[in-house]
Symmetry: C2
Subunit: 501 residues, 2 copies
Amino acid sequence: MSDEEGPAGFVSYGIDDKPPIVTSVFLGIQHYLTMVGANVAVPLILAGALGMPESVIPRFVGTFFVVSGIATLAQTTFGNRYPIVQGAPFSMLAPALAVVGVVQASNPSGAAWEAALLQLQGAIVVAAVVEVAVGYFGLLGRLRSYISPVIIAPTIALIGLALFNTPQVTAASGNWWLLGLTLGLIVLFSQYLGGRSRAFKLFPVLLGVVVAWVVAAVLSVTGVYAPGTSGYVDLASVAAAPALMPIYPLQWGTPRIETAYVIGMIAGVAASMLESFGDYHAVARLSGVGAPSERRINHGIGMEGLMNVFAGLMGTGGSTSYSENIGAIGLTGVASRYVVQIGAAVMLVVGFVGYFGQLIATIPDPIVGGLYIAMFGQIVAVGLSNLEYVDMNSSRNVFIVGIALFTGLAIPAYMGNVGSAAAFREGMRGVAVLGPVIGARAVADTIYVIGSTGMAVGGLVAFVLDNTIEGTREERGLVEWEQATEDEGAFASAFDRFLRD
Amino acid sequence: MSDEEGPAGFVSYGIDDKPPIVTSVFLGIQHYLTMVGANVAVPLILAGALGMPESVIPRFVGTFFVVSGIATLAQTTFGNRYPIVQGAPFSMLAPALAVVGVVQASNPSGAAWEAALLQLQGAIVVAAVVEVAVGYFGLLGRLRSYISPVIIAPTIALIGLALFNTPQVTAASGNWWLLGLTLGLIVLFSQYLGGRSRAFKLFPVLLGVVVAWVVAAVLSVTGVYAPGTSGYVDLASVAAAPALMPIYPLQWGTPRIETAYVIGMIAGVAASMLESFGDYHAVARLSGVGAPSERRINHGIGMEGLMNVFAGLMGTGGSTSYSENIGAIGLTGVASRYVVQIGAAVMLVVGFVGYFGQLIATIPDPIVGGLYIAMFGQIVAVGLSNLEYVDMNSSRNVFIVGIALFTGLAIPAYMGNVGSAAAFREGMRGVAVLGPVIGARAVADTIYVIGSTGMAVGGLVAFVLDNTIEGTREERGLVEWEQATEDEGAFASAFDRFLRD
C-alpha cells in the first residue's frame, strides 16, 4: 500500500519504529491512560453487582490491570502484532451481570460474591475456548472476502458512535466544566499547537489529562470540590492503599461451570470478536498499513481467546482488543508496537502496586469523559474515511451505509428500553409460531447481547445487505479495497518467526 | 454542476420535472405519508400536555395538516422552491411544553388548555417574526461562505442519526414484527425489486406502508391484535370521525404575549433554522442540483418565518422544513416539486375532512417506525456522501468530523439526562463566576434547546473547529465545493418571477 492510500500521512512513528526510550516511556503511559477509564469502570461495575467487600476491591481492580498487561504483551508479540491495547470488554459485561444476578438469587452457601465470581470465571473460560477455536480454525478470517468497505465504514464508525452515552460523558451529575477543560486542552495541544511543537503533537492526551488532574486536585484540596462530587480527587485514598498486592491464577478458588451461564457468555464473546474484527481494520488504517489479511485476523482472534481463558483463570471480566488507544494513534501519529509494549509493562506494575493503582483511580470521571470524546470521535471519523473506496453516488451504497449506521444506534436503544436479557427472553417467548425457538434461552440471550452491541448490529445489517443487493465489485469498492489489503504473506505468525528454522 | 458530482445518478424526476398526473398523485401521497408520523405525533404530544378535551383533538390534528399543506405550497412556490415538505418542528416542542407547564401551574381562569394554547400561539408568532427578519435580512445566508463540506457532512448526517431513539422505532412496547415487515417491504421494493419494475422503484414507501397497514388491519379485525397494543388498527374510529371540520385563524381566541415564553420559543426557532439550513443542502444534493446559494437560503428561511407566524395564528406548534420526505427523494429518485405540491394539496384535504385524517391516524406506530428507519438512514448516508469533497487523509478533517458526530449525539444525551430546561437552568445558576450570566433564563434556555438538537450541536462544533484549526482551502474541500454550489443568479425569488416585468 502506498503512502497516498489511507491516512498514512498521520503516522510519525510506524508500527515497527522504536522512538527514543524516554519518549517511548511517556508515550506508553499515554496509551495506558486512554484505557484506564474502561479498565477501572468494568471491575467497579462488577464489584458493585457482586457485592464484593471494600477491602477486596483494590486487588480485584489490580487483577484487571495485570491481565491487561500480559494480554497486551502476548497480542503484540505472539498474536496479530498490531499496536493495540487489550482490556476487559463491555460486551461481556451484560452476560456477566446476568450470571451474577442469577447466582445471588439462588442463595449460595458461603460468600455470595465468591460463589458468583467462580461461576463467572467458569463461564468465561469455556466461552474463551470457543473463541480460541474460532480464531485458530480460521472461521472469522474466512469471512474476509465477503467484507467490502461499504460494510467496514459503518462498522468501525459505530465502535465509536455507540459509546456516545457512556456515563463519564453524559451523566447529569458530571462536572462539565472539568470535562470541557480536559477536552479543550486535548484539542488545544493536538490541533492548535501540534504544528508548532513536537511535544504537543506527541503528548496531547498525557498533557491534557495531567493538567486537568492537577487542577482538579488543587480544587479538591482547597475544598472547592466536595468529597463525593464528580470532580473530586481523593488524594488521601492513595496513602491508604496497600503497597504490593498478591495477584495470581485461581486466587478466588476453582472456577465452576454451568451450561446456562456459558451460553450467555458465548454471546458476549461473539460480540467482542466482531468488535475486534473492526478494531483490526481501524488500527491498520490509522497505522498506515494495508487492511489485515485473513491469517492476521485469525491469529489475533486466537490470541484473544487464549488471553480470555487466562482472564477467566485470574478472575476478571474477560479480555479483548480495546478501541480507546486506537483513537490515540490517530491523534498523535504514534503507531509504534514498542510503545504499546512499554505501556503494557506499566499496566503490570500498576496492577501489582496498590499506590499506583489508587493514584490512577483518583482520575475523576469528567476527565475520563473529556478524553473519551476525543478518542471515540477519532474512531468514528476513521471508520467513515473508508468511504473513500466506496462510490457514494450509487443508491445501493448510500442505502446500506445509512441503514447500518441508523440501526446500529436504534436496535441497541431498543434493547436498552426492553431493559434486560430476561425481559427480552420473556417477550420473545410470547411471539406467535416462532416463540418456542427464539424464546429459547440460548437464542434469545444471543440476540439480546449482539443486539445491544452497536457495531455488531450495524456490521451484520451491512454484511447481509451488501452481499445480497445487486452491485458491481467496483461499485462496492472491492477492487480498490483488495489492492489496499496486505498480502497473506505479510503476516508472520509467532510459530513462523520463532520456531520454523 | 455536472451529473458526475453529487448523487445525481439517483434522480429519475428532477426538481422541475412533472411526472404524468396519475403517477404524480400517488407520488404526492407517498411524500405525504413520510411526514404523517411526525405531524400526528407533535399535536398528540401537545394535546396530552395541554389536557385538551378528546372532542377537540381531531380538529387540533387537522389544523396541523392544513398548516403543513399551506406552508408547503408557499415554500415550494414563493420560498426556496425546493421539493421539501413543511411541518411542525420537534425543536419547538421543548419550549412549547415548557410554556404549557408554567401556564397550567399558574391556575389560569377559564379552561387551562385554552389559556396555555393562547400563550403558546403568542410566543410562536413573536419568535417567528424574528425568523422572518433573520431570513429576509440575510443573516443566515451570510454564514454560507464559512461553511465547508467538513461541516456539512456531519451536520446532515446528524439530522438522521439524532432521531435513532424516536419512540416509534425503539419503544419496548413496540411491535417489532410489524416494524420489521414494513422496513423489509420497503427494502424489498426499493433495493431488490426496484431494478426489475418501475413501480417498485417509484413507490416503495407507499406500497410498503399500505401492505403493512392491510396486514395490521386484518390482524386487528380478526382479534389477533388487541385494542391498545401498538400494532392495533382502530377502524371503528374512522366511522366515528367528524366529516368536515371548521379550521381557521384565531380559532381558539386571541393569542397572548409574555416575554419569558417568547425567549424560550426563539431558542426553538433558532434550532429549527439551523436544521433547515442542513435540510436545504441535503435536498439539493439528492435532487442532483448544486448546493444552495445565499439568496436561496435567505428566501427559504424568510418563508419559514412567515409560515411560522401563520402557524401561530392558526394555533399549531410551528412550521419548519421536514427531513422525512428528503429520505424518500433519495429512495425513489423523485425530486419533482410538482409532486410535492400535489402532496401538499392532499394534506389540505386530509386536514379538513375528519374521515381521512382519522384513517391516517390509524397507521400504527410500528409501521411509522419501519418507515423512519429507511428515511432517516438515507439522510445519514447522504450527509456523509459530502465527504467525497473532503481530504480524509488530513488529520484535522478526521478530528473535526469525528468530534462533531460524537458530540452531536453526546450533548443531547447529556441534556436528556439533565431532564428539563428548568433543571438545566438551575445547574447553570450554581456555576462559579459565570453563574449569573449562563444561569439567566434567556441564556440557559437557549443553550438547553440548542444543546438538545443533535445537528445544531454537531454543526456548531464543526463550524468553530473548521474555521479556527489551520487548514488549506483545498484540504477543507472548499475549492471543489464552491464549484458544486449554484450561482447566486440561479435562484429567482417570487418577486423576481412574478412582479419584476
